[in-house]
């Protein structure tokens, strides 16, 4: 067998017990690995009424079926747990090197259960696994922690995953970081690790991931690499400019949210675009494991240098906060990496705070002298720090924009779906992406079905972004295909160039399986329905498949998409029907039977 290692590491923190168990290959056939299998094991093992920050919640850190192989972009792993932000299945994935090295150490997945009685970290050196004291790094930022624990381990090849102070402080918008600045960012997964008193996980693996059909793989790999190279986005656009190249195109389309989604076009956006960043700030590219795209950036700013920033980060600390100061954006991003925070949710919460101030909900005396207003870059950076350390009003903001705005009686100013902050696309001007935001299993998220690809970028084909025609079908297919890509441990960006058949060829060559395209896509549909069923069990219903009032009722006020609205009420019934769900958004018995669930 190739691809899968076939072994899971389970750590009971309460008892200090470390054990291994075989990977259930019958389940893996149906759910692959990564997001799929970890999600299935999570829903089987964790009762739906468990408090996300209690010892009864579990964390499944899982590599994909192809993670650590020579498949392109195969560096990803996922953190699956119950989200403390909104109670849904959190499945936050990340790139870098750590995930591949977990497989080299001999594990498809690490499961953390219970709660340690003191701060600890987990040290994995192939089959030598130890729970070690972490008192000396508790309270330290991600960079200092990584540096200290690497030195202690005594082998520079060790890879470090850790939380920062934000996760320790149980911030509901905290991330799990790896390789310093790669983030399993969304849904507050850092707080779950913090609640278990786990500061870090070190992996040093000396093994390798087997390949079932090396000869077949040569041909399949050559084809995939060729497509990634020839494709204009993966071969040229992303490598040259990074993800922030989107700033101008999303802005020129008139769907670029400004000042907490109050406006949708920024006349000064080019000041913080990928083009400007490449010309003035880029030091080098910084690719993840086995990635020929290399969209990752390493940049300089006034007084420092570091990773990123990505498109979403540039937008959220930039235009969405009324700011065009690249140095401030870099600083805010760097702070998020070090404190272990999700840039999207942090920036969106600060922007919501700016609007709460604008509308008089927050009184000046609550701010302790730190400005919280659109356009104030120095204030914005300081609020990131205060959120990370839960200082003053920052403690309230660390719970995310929904709870923060709700505490002032204005939850409608939180730009969230299911309490998760919506990323950098105004859904009113892009119908399929709007439907995707409303139905995403983890809330306001663009990487559960990136409809921007066909609706704006024209990949794999151009769709009219204002039309409803066929959008329910597209959204379903994109959501299911994304679940497959996530569960293979590949990067979603590969899908700009690769299609379902390419992924089937890769997984078949590496694992020796024999999936047809339809069977592989059915794995994605199964994964999607498993997540949906969990969300229904924890109390969500069709009523939460919606967006903030501003994005449903009000038309866009400015720019090229002025006057456009999201026609969600027309799209949702079509989507439910497309999925084989009933009118209440519940999977029907026929749908589940067809999927073998």
């Amino acid at each position: 067998m190739g691809g899968y290692i076939g072994k899971i590491l389970r750590v009971n923190l309460t008892e200090g017990k470390i054990s291994t168990e075989p990977l259930n290959m019958e389940l893996a056939k149906k759910y692959l690995s990564g997001r799929g299998l970890a999600g299935k094991m999570f829903t089987d093992e964790v009762a739906s009424d468990v408090d996300a920050l209690s010892p009864e919640n579990k964390i499944f850190i899982a590599a994909g079926a192809l993670t650590g192989t020579n498949a392109p972009t195969s560096g990803r792993y996922v953190v699956v747990t119950k989200s403390p932000l909104n109670g849904v299945v959190a499945s936050s994935n990340s790139g870098g090197q750590w995930g591949a090295h977990m497989k080299f150490a001999g594990y498809d997945m690490v499961i953390l259960e219970g709660k340690a009685d003191r701060p600890v970290y987990l040290s994995i050196h192939d089959d030598v696994v130890e729970i070690k004291d972490a008192a000396h790094v508790w309270g330290k930022d991600v960079y200092a922690t990584t540096d200290t624990l690497k030195k202690e381990f005594g082998d520079d090849k060790v890879k470090v995953l850790s939380i920062g102070p934000a996760g320790e402080n149980l911030s509901l918008i905290s991330a799990v970081m790896n390789d310093l600045y790669r983030a399993a960012g969304r849904s507050g997964v850092g707080a779950v690790m913090g609640s278990k008193n786990v500061k870090a996980i070190l992996v040093r693996g000396t093994g390798k991931v087997e390949n079932a059909n090396p000869d077949v793989m040569k041909t399949v790999l050559s084809s995939a690499l060729g497509k990634l190279r020839e494709n204009g986005v993966t071969g040229q656009g992303l490598p040259t400019y990074g993800t922030a190249v989107l700033v101008n195109i999303i802005n020129e389309s008139g769907i670029y949210p400004v000042k907490n989604f109050q406006e949708s076009y920024d006349a000064e956006a080019d000041l913080i675009s990928g083009e400007t960043m490449t010309a003035n700030h880029l030091i080098k590219k910084d690719p993840c494991y086995r990635c020929p795209i290399a969209c990752g950036r390493y940049s300089k700013w006034e007084g420092g240098e570091g990773a990123g920033p990505e498109y979403e980060t540039v937008w959220v600390f930039g235009s969405n906060s009324g700011i065009h100061d690249f140095d401030a954006i870099h600083k805010a991003n760097d702070l998020c990496n070090k404190l272990g925070l999700d840039t999207i949710s942090v920036g969106a919460t600060i922007a919501a705070g700016m609007e709460l101030v604008q509308r008089g909900y927050i009184k000046p005396e609550e701010l302790d002298g730190t400005p919280l207003e659109f356009g104030n870059a120095a204030g914005m950076v300081e609020w990131v720090r205060k959120i990370g350390y839960a200082e003053g009003l920052g403690a309230k903001m660390a719970l995310g924009s929904y709870r923060f705005a709700e505490s002032y009686g204005a939850p409608e100013l939180s730009m969230t779906v299911k309490k998760l902050e919506i990323p950098a696309y105004d859904p009113r001007g892009v119908q399929g992406q709007g439907l995707q935001f409303a139905t995403s299993n983890r809330g306001g998220c663009h990487v559960r079905g990136y409809m921007i690809s066909p609706e704006i970028l024209g990949l794999p084909e151009k769709l009219d972004r204002t039309s409803l025609e066929g959008k329910a079908t597209w959204v379903k297919i994109f959501q299911d295909l994304t679940a497959v890509i996530d569960s293979l441990g590949l990067c979603l960006f590969s899908s700009f160039a690769l299609g379902l058949s390419d992924y089937a060829a890769l997984v078949n060559a590496v694992t020796g399986a024999n999936y047809t395209d339809e069977e592989l896509l059915a794995c994605g549909e199964r994964i999607w329905n498993n997540e949906r069923l969990h969300n229904l069990r924890v109390g969500y219903s069709a009523a939460e498949d919606t967006l903030p009032k501003r994005l449903i009722q009000d038309p866009i006020v400015d720019g090229p998409s002025k006057g456009q609205t999201l026609k969600l009420a027309e799209l949702l019934p079509k989507y439910y029907a497309e999925r084989g769900w009933d009118e209440a958004g519940v999977p029907t018995p026929e749908c589940l039977t067809k999927l073998g669930m």
């Binding site: 494709n231 204009g232 986005v233 993966t234 040229q236 656009g237 992303l238 040259t240 400019y241 990074g242 993800t243 922030a244 190249v245 989107l246 101008n248 195109i249 020129e252 389309s253 008139g254 080019d270 990928g274 083009e275 969209c295 990505e310 498109y311 979403e312 663009h446 990487v447 990136y450 921007i452 690809s453 704006i456 970028l457 024209g458 990949l459 151009k462 009219d464 972004r465 979603l492 960006f493 700009f496 720019g559 090229p560 998409s561």
Partner: protein
């Protein structure tokens, strides 16, 4: 008629970011591309006033044309 032309990503190399152009009535996007030495198949996205159009699209006075090579991200 007068239109605004905006170039992005590699289209800016050796050209410009934004310029105004005077064109005869009845001009289309191709009439913008030709003097810029940009081939139609190099253009991945052509927006006129924010709406995606093809190279044959006829222009009106006051239009803003935004031209992109293949780009993407997320």
């Amino acid at each position: 008629m007068r239109v605004t032309v905006k170039l992005f990503a590699t289209f800016r190399d050796g050209r410009f970011k934004v310029e105004e152009r005077e064109l005869p009535q009845g001009s289309n996007v191709l009439n913008i591309l030709e003097p810029l030495n940009i081939k139609p198949d190099e253009v991945a996205i052509c927006l006129v006033n924010g709406r995606d159009v093809n190279a044959q699209h006829f222009l009106n006075d006051g239009d803003t044309i935004a031209l992109f090579p293949p780009v993407g991200g997320g």
